[in-house]
Symmetry: C2
Subunit: 371 residues, 2 copies
Amino acid sequence: MTAAQLRVALLGAGTVGAEVVRAFTHRSARLAPDGGRRLELVGIAVRDVDGARARGLPADLLTDAPAHLVADPETDVVVELMGGDEPAHTLVAAALAAGKGVVTANKHIVAHHGPELESIARRTEAALRFEAAVGGGIPVLGPLAGELAANEVSEIRGIVNGTTNYILTAMTDEGRGYAEVLAAAQAAGYAEADPSGDVEGHDAVNKLVILVRLGFGVWIEPGDVAISASDGPGAARPGITGISAADLAAAAATGNVIKLVASARRDDDGRVVASVLPTLVPADSPLGRTAGVLNRIEIDATPVGSVAFAGPGAGGAATSSAVLGDLLAIARGLGSTWAGLPPAGRPDRADRPDRSPTPAGELSPAGSADR
Amino acid sequence: MTAAQLRVALLGAGTVGAEVVRAFTHRSARLAPDGGRRLELVGIAVRDVDGARARGLPADLLTDAPAHLVADPETDVVVELMGGDEPAHTLVAAALAAGKGVVTANKHIVAHHGPELESIARRTEAALRFEAAVGGGIPVLGPLAGELAANEVSEIRGIVNGTTNYILTAMTDEGRGYAEVLAAAQAAGYAEADPSGDVEGHDAVNKLVILVRLGFGVWIEPGDVAISASDGPGAARPGITGISAADLAAAAATGNVIKLVASARRDDDGRVVASVLPTLVPADSPLGRTAGVLNRIEIDATPVGSVAFAGPGAGGAATSSAVLGDLLAIARGLGSTWAGLPPAGRPDRADRPDRSPTPAGELSPAGSADR
């Protein structure tokens, strides 16, 4: 079977992007789904073309003009791996508006511009996929929207930020203070020079917003996710920035560890309550034993019960797995990550009745529910 | 949007089937995928119609003639939850031959008749889905064939049989012998009157054969999966039937536990080597800590690294989640569980070159590889 090719433009060739390029150059036999279109890499936009060439990226594909690559009629699908807000947000919106598929690992733009991007994608029927935005290479968004689609989700919780988990694990294991371990993590490349996005919880908030979209059917505002608590370990400081060696020692004395746990559930009024907070968890529980840069996401739902997904939550190679999986899904015509689910509602419209059991014979037409 | 309905016939209404029926009667709002066809239950075949009616199953849908239900032109999709070889195998083959979609939780027929069923399904372009056959409600086959599709799988291992894990866990925790714990498990409903399918490893073998199909692209023969070893705990006896309290005590003395581990990998010649054997694993490893009726499946692959899926591997409610997810997938037109992967090869044709890196420009056409 010879199907038309799907021409892929890559925006950004850092850690993840370089691994995506490697897959095209070294494992391309796997990039032709049965019954789908064969993927072909047609362009790579980078900030520094000379530097990228020196790193061994294919010279004939390099450009420093991402907007041209997005607009090029020869581009069918855009893979956005630049990160950050702009220009990534505008480029992704432009690609979707032009009806082009987009695969992104950018949790910030999906969490902060989700309603807008979903609206554009639905209008133009372009596919927007973002499995790589949560849990790196761990399959979790696809299963949540797909294999678990018949479930009523009651709670999602997990460890979704590797940097903070690495820091907390090191503080626990070595009895050292936050500032000291953070400096060591920065030196080792596990934390960025400006670590605030990770250590204050914003990265985990973005991932939780995305999990909530797929599990609860609504886009919540990142700013509505609590990142500091009035009491408990590290109280009144965002993320893990208030956690001390003494907090961890006190936790250990009761058989617990402190983890930065992202969690979301529906309250009694049907509203989604979401937080990313340092949390005491039993040291010998699966979350408590999730060490270093590993991620673990647990989903409680009816009828399935509780299922968990674990693995490397970051890293170029692991994350490229999710990017490539999304590209293959677009090549097979599977649509967006939320395909099959109703259009998202806004939090204030997400009333419980839409999610509660409906007596047979009183079905809502698909797509009409405020989810 | 009003799409045509997808008319579902259910074969078997035991533990899982009753939960599927409950979803149709109590949570039917979730059984209408956005952009897909709404699911409608049109018939339930049971052995004992009066008994099923007494259990509260909808009387107007009951029949004791499964073959008629399969052949009925009013049936679009068949859900086979009878289990066992015949008549399940013939009914599923007939449905597929008639171009009807099939969802099954029957690991035996998929593992033992996989090549035949795949061949029929590909010929008629009918969808055959079987997520529920492995890991109950845990999403694992879908992620393996979908989100992880770009990966080269090197090893799959896991605890995939709840009955044996329950028995081994109880023997470990309580220091009791195999026969005693088995009898207690039978009394509690965790083991069947004839437990051989579970305790000799055949159930786990069937699940491993299915995982191998999706992870390695070949159908292996269940009989080629080793279920007894020449040495090690319980040697020369199949499954866990040779495990004694002394074996478990000896394991504990070295910080290990004994688990029935299903595993498959490629050997140096590219052949798939698969076994289901009592295995020493560190007590504090994730597999070692998988207790009772939980399942855990770990996948090592490039580029993702190692990812794991855990949750309830059996039970009516949990398993119904996978059955319903597969029904929704068919309603969305997503095809078979293996959709997107090349047609399966046979073990002797599964040479490594099909899976190894292919230089760019030397692509095999999709679907031509012997996988």
